[in-house]
Symmetry: C2
């Protein structure tokens, strides 16, 4: 479905009735500039709506699941929320009972500071794994953040900064579109960088058969002034995430904290009932807009992945099933040898067909086509047809894989299964960044 | 079973009746020194026994399987062979009908040059994928190699060199032991470096349920003067590979060419019948010796993996099943974040428990123990017990992961499943090496 979307400023405060702000409260205990919201990078934010919202969420399916995720799942299931408190610097993962206590204290403090009803705040955390939350700092942070709330693009930018860890830049988007005769807005922020191959579900439950390699912390917070019931919102989010955040990989590692939350406060005044019917035109419009926002945010995560130089869209078609197409795309997208060849600008089809061959997908070597195109283009330069090298020149193939972004086309020619992955190269910078600084105890990543 | 093994020189020619030699025939078509066996690295070898041998083999389960593997599988199934021709520089993989024709020509030329019966030669190849064999060079190479055969340690060293690709050093071993009252010898050579996570079976067929991530080219050629029937030899090799070559990973990529071959010529004069009964003491002795040789060769591959600085033995116990233990060990051994932390000397348990959490194995966060010991030691320094950080100091933990080799102990405490993997760190050198040289078309790797 094609809908008309207009880009607007303001990210998560572009929709009516939302405010936010970010503050530095020294969650990493660097011991400098505490309580200030200048200088050091912000590490805590509040996002709040004037009125209670319909809410939907998708969460990591990692069996090791952080306390904030455990707090959110049952709250989101109730379908109503009004605010989110988010911190970076500490993931509150593998922190046992104290972690749960701290996450619950965070939502209670947020509810109190914002003057909203009990049970209506949600929480997200990212940063070190296995270190308990520095609650002295967090308490002062929540109180401080509540005092700097506002609804300007600058406020949204503060929030986008406060959720960053190894991200090199804040990631935000907002769009405006017509829905049921009204103008509605949809905005979002996200963070990613490393430990990125989300595989999220609505309740953290793993699917019966796990896809090839569900495996970052990615956090995304999306707001809208559309009126839509929670059930419809969840259905739209589940589908949007399946086509966006769950289709990206930086390093193949799935985090303990992956979370996407959407708050819909209805202040645009469209007809809520009409937008909530899964077969209605309004729902289709909203779903398309949400999918656009999720996909743009997801791509920003891959582009800003740790040490990433090149982003490759791996498009597999002709698999025996969608599950096999997904498995084939993930095997290629996560192969160390394929990823290093992308980094080198090397159109190496041998490593690609090797990865296809060991993937759980069925392949027939003499049916495989491999080619390249510019991002989104259908003009493919084939390097392999039916398992045999084409006459495409090495020079032309190198030119096809030289851009910072390109599409890799793989046709298995065995069936109708299709899948794609937004993948990244593997660079010396990724290794250098992640080999860590052993003078700094504590695990980054959740 | 503990048996007394004595290290001896001579590798594959240590056993009676074997001869070998290596030559440079310019398979990569560098255009220099052709026909010489001095100067440039050797790239072709012949290994031959005075008499026909019992033979056993294990081969890649990659669906994209190179021509030499396709030629070997039915020949090995007949249980008898006398020689092997091996080249480096070209994998003869993804080379279609021409590839099969070339591989068959190679075995025929070897049989003729060595004066052995039709059908008794085998072939192994490693190097570029997708480039047809330079048969002019290969023909002169086989003829040349047949003229330089001998049975000194220097000849074995030539063979070990001729099978190298990105290996930095030749890998060889030989042992002597008593079997049925006779002294027998077992020797081997191997190569590895990148595209290393073998998952081999006797006929290349994939197991019904694929383990977590079967995925290098590794080649290994083993000779013995023990007398043993082919069936017993295959049973012993299958078990030895399951505990050695199929338990290593450098980069998680399984090659199109992985091959292990064992030739047993019986010239030691032990009682063949007694050694071939799967329940006999002699068989148990031979099996233990073969397992030792395979494991030592497999470890050499990990230690000499591309860019490898550290080798980590990942020991998982307490899984619900052996398959779950294997999946857990492979998830940890192949996690980019875990591997980079090893490179950095960072005792980061957060990344380890994260990888366990997204692995197909069932885990309970509050039951997981993670610790380190010196290689082969039972004195474990625990960093995590029952999901909680221990009081072990960060300094002591750093010291535990500082050596070039150490053991990582993971107890899931849910059952009795155990598995281990010999794994490697991920370094800038790996990335730099594999990002390739786009001035050199053609795919290294098979």
């Amino acid at each position: 479905m094609h809908i008309k979307l207009r880009s607007i400023p303001g990210a998560i405060v572009a929709p009516k009735g939302f405010s936010t702000g970010g503050i530095f409260c020294d969650i990493k205990r660097l011991g400098t500039g505490k309580g200030s919201n200048k200088g050091a990078k912000r590490d805590l934010t509040l996002i709040v709506s004037e009125v209670p919202c319909s809410v939907a969420g998708m969460f990591t399916t990692n069996q090791v699941c952080a306390a904030p995720v455990k707090v959110c799942v049952p709250r989101v299931a109730k379908g109503i929320a009004q605010a989110v408190v988010v911190n970076s610097g500490n993931a509150n993962a593998c922190t046992g009972r104290q972690g749960m206590k701290d996450a619950l204290e965070m939502v209670r403090l947020a509810e109190k500071a914002l003057g909203i009803a009990d049970g209506l705040a949600l929480v997200g955390s990212t940063g070190r794994i296995g270190v308990t939350m520095p609650m002295v700092e967090v308490r002062s942070g929540i109180a401080g953040a509540a005092k700097v709330l506002g609804s300007t693009p600058d406020h949204a930018a503060q929030a986008a900064e406060a959720i960053m860890t190894s991200d090199t830049r804040p990631k935000e988007i907002a769009v405006e579109f017509r829905l049921g005769g009204k103008t509605v807005r949809l905005g979002g922020i996200c963070k990613g960088a490393g430990m990125i191959q989300p595989g999220m579900s609505a309740n953290g439950a793993r699917p019966a058969a796990l896809p090839g390699g569900l495996h970052a912390t990615m956090l995304s917070f999306i707001t809208t002034d559309a009126a839509i019931e929670a059930r419809g919102l969840q259905a739209a989010l589940r589908e949007a995430v399946a086509h966006s955040f769950n289709r990206i990989t930086v390093d193949g590692d799935m985090s303990t904290n992956d979370t996407v939350l959407v708050l819909a406060n209805g202040l645009a005044g469209n007809d809520k009932k009409s937008c909530s019917g899964l077969k209605s035109k309004d729902f289709a419009t909203f779903r398309a807009a949400l999918q656009h926002v999720c996909l743009e945010l997801a791509k920003k995560i891959v582009r800003d992945g740790e040490g990433v130089h090149r982003v490759v869209t791996v498009k597999v078609s002709g698999a025996r099933s969608i599950a096999e197409a997904d498995a084939a795309a993930r095997a290629v997208a996560n192969s160390a040898l394929v990823k290093t060849s992308w980094h080198g600008g090397d159109p190496n089809w041998g490593r690609i067909i090797d990865a296809l061959g060991y993937s759980p997908a069925t392949i027939a070597e003499d049916r495989v086509d491999i080619g390249y195109s510019a991002s989104g283009s259908r003009k493919v330069l084939w390097s392999l047809r039916r398992g045999q090298p084409t006459k495409a020149s090495f020079r032309d193939l190198c030119a096809a894989v030289a851009p910072r972004e390109f599409d890799l086309h793989i046709r298995l020619n065995l069936g109708k299964g299709e899948a794609l992955m937004y993948a990244a190269d593997l660079t010396e910078e990724y290794v250098d960044f992640n080999k860590g600084d052993v003078t700094d105890p504590g695990s980054l990543g959740g």
